[in-house]
């Protein structure tokens, strides 16, 4: 079986070479092209400007088609991995193309908005590449032999067990265990707006707080109850380890998703700005 290969190294960096060729060709054309003397400097309205703009617009449309292609499981036009690899490299070269298209002329207008959105989409894509290359490994490391599902099931088991043990212990311990258990359930299932919550605001671990409380109360207990409390503490500590891993796993999942919340809507904003840009340019030709 073929070894796992990152999208960057797909087919020995085939699309890296294509993208580099693109950039070099565009830069060479830009350097060679002598804009008509009327303009004094390069400009999006020369024949090269229109050409680069046309290529840029076509590239944007094609890059956005990845969203369609990845949903077509039976599509045979290239492998999805190849598409993604090309998406990354050609998307990066887009910055060169559009910068040359606008000849580094900027202003507070729809035209520069389209440029800024292009750059924003590509930069958010860079984070996506980083996330896709980096987080899955960390996730595997974090999960070990477990999956999120087994981790959750184990936490549920431990939770049940802790509650059972706590039944034989004083009321305050019972309350601590119960509230920690509810807090964890709430934390794990809450759906904030976006999935930003576990990324931006890693909650203080309620189980850790409960463990600390149990330790404090445990000093006042004697005999059988002290032993039982120690047992409870052991289980709670195990549970804490598991919830930490779940938390990390959820955080990685969120990070893997989060950049897309910028990448995709920005790409659609770019599409709109691109349409407005083209209409504006030719409406008032």
């Amino acid at each position: 079986m073929q070894q796992h290969q990152s999208i960057l190294g797909y087919k020995g960096g085939r699309y890296l070479r294509v993208a580099l060729l693109f950039c070099v060709a565009a830069i060479a054309a830009y350097a060679w092209h002598e804009p008509p003397t009327v303009y004094l400097k390069p400009y999006g309205g020369t024949w090269l400007g229109y050409t680069l703009g046309g290529i840029g617009a076509a590239m944007i449309l094609w890059l956005m088609l990845l969203g369609v292609r990845k949903r077509r499981y039976r599509n045979a036009v290239g492998s999805l991995q190849g598409w993604t690899s090309a998406h990354v490299y050609l998307g990066t070269s887009l910055i060169v193309i559009v910068s040359l298209h606008c000849a580094f002329e900027f202003g507070w207008n729809i035209h520069t908005l389209a440029y800024a959105l292009t750059v924003a989409v590509v930069v958010s894509g860079f984070f996506g590449v980083y996330a896709y290359l980096h987080y899955p490994e960390l996730m595997t490391k974090n999960a070990g032999n477990e999956t999120l599902e087994t981790l959750l099931m184990k936490v549920a088991d431990l939770d049940h067990k802790c509650r059972r043990i706590a039944l034989d212990l004083p009321d305050d311990i019972n309350a601590i265990v119960g509230s920690a258990s509810r807090a964890v359930a709430r934390e794990m299932t809450q759906t904030g707006s976006l999935t930003l919550r576990p990324v931006l605001k890693p909650a203080a671990c309620p189980t850790l707080a409960a463990c600390n409380a149990l330790k404090t109360i445990g000093r006042t207990l004697t005999g059988e109850q002290a032993k039982l409390n120690e047992h409870l503490l052991t289980e709670m500590t195990r549970k804490r380890g598991l919830t930490d891993r779940i938390r990390s796993d959820l955080r990685f999942r969120a990070l893997l998703q989060l950049w897309l919340y910028f990448h995709v809507p920005l790409a659609f904003a770019l599409l709109a700005a691109l349409i407005a840009h083209v209409v504006a340019v030719f409406y008032y030709w």
């Binding site: 003397t37 009327v38 303009y39 004094l40 002329e105 202003g107 507070w108 207008n109 729809i110 035209h111 908005l113 032999n145 999956t147 999120l148 599902e149 087994t150 959750l152 099931m153 184990k154 936490v155 549920a156 088991d157 939770d159 049940h160 067990k161 059972r164 359930a185 794990m188 299932t189 759906t191 904030g192 707006s193 976006l194 999935t195 047992h231 052991t234 195990r238 959820l250 998703q257 897309l260 919340y261 995709v264 809507p265 920005l266 790409a267 659609f268 904003a269 599409l271 709109a272 700005a273 349409i275 407005a276 209409v279 504006a280 340019v281 030719f282 409406y283 008032y284 030709w285």
Partner: protein, 575 residues
């Protein structure tokens, strides 16, 4: 070394069902992998969770990948005794008394405490964020389309169609909406509008008259009516000429590129002027691409006083061609006037003159030099007095008729005995006694004497005395004396944008060398080499003034009207 493994399951009626099988020892792997001897199918059990080793002296349990508890205590390994309960994931393994012949008997059952954990798992794994990417994308797309496309487009069509009631909400809306829309429409503006076009404000349609069509010349000419063509389009031929003739204004004059929209690049001029006859066969100018590289010698526009409508454009050369003479019908000696030792003035002293005594910059703009006039510049020394003892009377300048009239009247009055105060009559003039009564005969006699004297003085003025003929050519014709008409060039190089004002720090003699000029026919205009002492072409050189075509030439100068530029603003001037 077999081990008896009993799987205890609860049947639908709640009764325990024991399913026994013998498993070969001595090592048993407990795990969810199908190769495990004790196969526990649950995700919470590790692939190779634990190992049970059976020996003669008893069985031991060790954790491999998973966590184990024996009798409720988490352990890494333990010796197993009958009655021990081992907890692995959601399973309990109870050590049972072993039947004879077997080393170990185990009962595997699902832990009763195993909770329905699926609920939370499902909720965590299936959770979706409230705001979907798709919804955000629609929002962003439609928002930008609305604000940056629809509103700017609509702004063009907004404007009062039916008047609204004053003060009504509709009227307010009618006022506010176009302003807001107009501001969004500004987002289409690719760059600052040139200074001259800023007056149009947000009214894009002043120039962009038709949607999706390039700006037409008609839009430009609707304001720039007096603009002259560089060359009449009918005179242009060839591919280059036709391209030039069909070039839209906006192809050279690009707006939205900052304050200036007149292109200066001399490559534009060179497009045609590198081989100008190819584009315009009637062109008289020489080929040129850069001031310092190949600008031809200047052509000086010269007048001919005897042919009022003729203009000769004579190219400068070294030595100057015979054509390079000014035919102004004047006599003038610059060398004499600028003698460093001075020139004799009316008081018989020597006065040193300089250029500014006669040549002053134009009052308005200082581009050209004011014409020299007899009254302002010459007459202080070159008196037109006609009677040696009478210094207060001079003949008028400029009209032969007026000279004769003044002389006749002056002498008639003297002869008739009426001597104006301050006038000493010439002693040889025969005069009437003042106060005497004279008859018709005597009066006729007196006038004849006066006329004769006037005629004699006139002849002297024109012919023998150094008065008129000092500067003019005089001929005697049957009708009387005739002074040759004078025309002096006012603009010598009308196609150049030269201005004296910008060269005021230089001395006149830097460019005009007249110290050795003894004749009025001499032309003292600077040559292209003289200009190149300070000016270079479009390529900058340290210490020199960078000068492209537009430094000295105007594109829209037109060729039809430059004739008029040669005439001075005042009437005819005389040196």
């Amino acid at each position: 070394m077999d081990v008896l493994v009993t799987f205890v399951r609860t049947n639908p009626r709640g009764k325990a069902q024991r399913d026994q099988r013998r498993v070969a020892g001595p090592v048993l792997i407990v795990g969810r992998g199908s190769k495990s001897q004790i196969h526990l199918q649950d995700a919470r059990v590790a692939l190779n969770h634990a190992r049970i080793t059976v020996a003669e002296d008893g069985a031991t349990l060790e954790a491999i990948e998973g966590a184990i508890e024996v009798n409720g205590r988490p352990v890494d390994s333990a010796r197993l005794a009958v009655g021990d309960v081992v907890e692995i994931g959601p399973y309990l393994i109870t050590i049972e008394p072993q039947p004879t012949g077997l080393l170990l008997a185990l009962a595997v059952s699902a832990s009763e405490q195993s909770p329905p954990g699926g609920n939370i798992v499902r909720r965590v794994l299936m959770r979706t964020p409230r705001l979907s990417k798709r919804r955000l994308s629609y929002l962003a797309f439609l928002g930008i389309i609305l604000l940056c496309l629809v509103v700017p487009l609509a702004a063009g069509f907004l404007g009062g169609s039916t008047p609204a009631e004053p003060g009504s909400a509709r009227e307010m809306l009618r006022e506010i909406v176009p302003v807001v829309a107009g501001n969004f429409a500004q987002s289409w503006n690719p760059g600052p509008v040139s200074r001259g076009h800023q007056v149009f404000g947000k009214d894009c349609r002043s120039c962009h008259q038709f949607a999706f069509l390039q700006v037409r010349d008609s839009a430009c000419v609707s304001c720039h009516q007096a603009l002259k063509e560089h060359v009449p389009r009918t005179e242009l031929t060839g591919a280059r000429g036709v391209t030039f003739a069909t070039t839209r204004c906006a192809e050279c004059h690009r707006d939205h590129k900052g304050m200036q929209m007149a292109p200066r690049a001399q490559e534009l001029c060179a497009d045609c002027h590198v081989d100008v006859k190819n584009a315009a066969p009637a062109a008289q100018s020489a080929n040129v691409t850069d001031f310092v590289e190949d600008h031809p010698a200047f052509r000086v526009s010269l007048l001919d006083a005897s042919h009022p409508n003729a203009i000769r454009r004579v190219r400068q050369a070294t030595p100057a061609t015979a054509e390079m003479v000014e035919r102004s019908n004047l006599k003038f000696n610059h060398a004499l006037h600028l003698d460093p030792n001075g020139i004799r003035d009316p008081e018989e002293r020597r006065t040193v003159m300089d250029c500014a005594d006669c040549h002053q910059p134009e009052a308005r703009g200082g581009r050209l030099i004011e014409p020299v006039t007899m009254e302002k510049h010459c007459q202080r020394c070159h008196s037109l007095a006609f009677e040696p003892k009478v210094t207060t009377r001079q003949v008028p300048h400029g009209s032969e008729q007026a000279v004769m009239t003044v002389l006749r009247e002056f002498y008639a009055r003297l002869v008739l005995g009426d001597v104006p105060p301050g006038v000493v009559p010439p002693p040889d003039l025969q005069r009437m006694r003042p106060g005497a009564e004279i008859d018709y005969q005597e009066r006729q006699q007196a006038l004849r004497i006066a006329d004769e004297r006037a005629q004699r003085v006139l002849r002297e003025l024109y012919e023998t005395r150094d008065v008129c003929s000092t500067c003019h050519y005089v001929t005697r014709e049957p009708a009387g004396y005739k002074v040759a008409p004078v025309r002096v060039a006012h603009t010598w190089m009308p196609q150049a944008l030269f201005t004296h004002a910008k060269h005021a720090t230089e001395r006149c003699s830097t460019c005009h060398d007249v110290t050795r000029s003894k004749k009025a026919t001499d032309v003292a205009m600077p040559t292209v080499e003289k200009c190149r002492e300070c000016h270079v072409g479009a390529r900058a050189v340290i210490g020199k003034v960078t000068s492209d075509c537009a430094t000295c030439h105007k594109f829209h100068a037109g060729s039809e009207n430059w004739h008029a530029a040669l005439q001075p603003a005042t009437k005819k001037g005389k040196k």
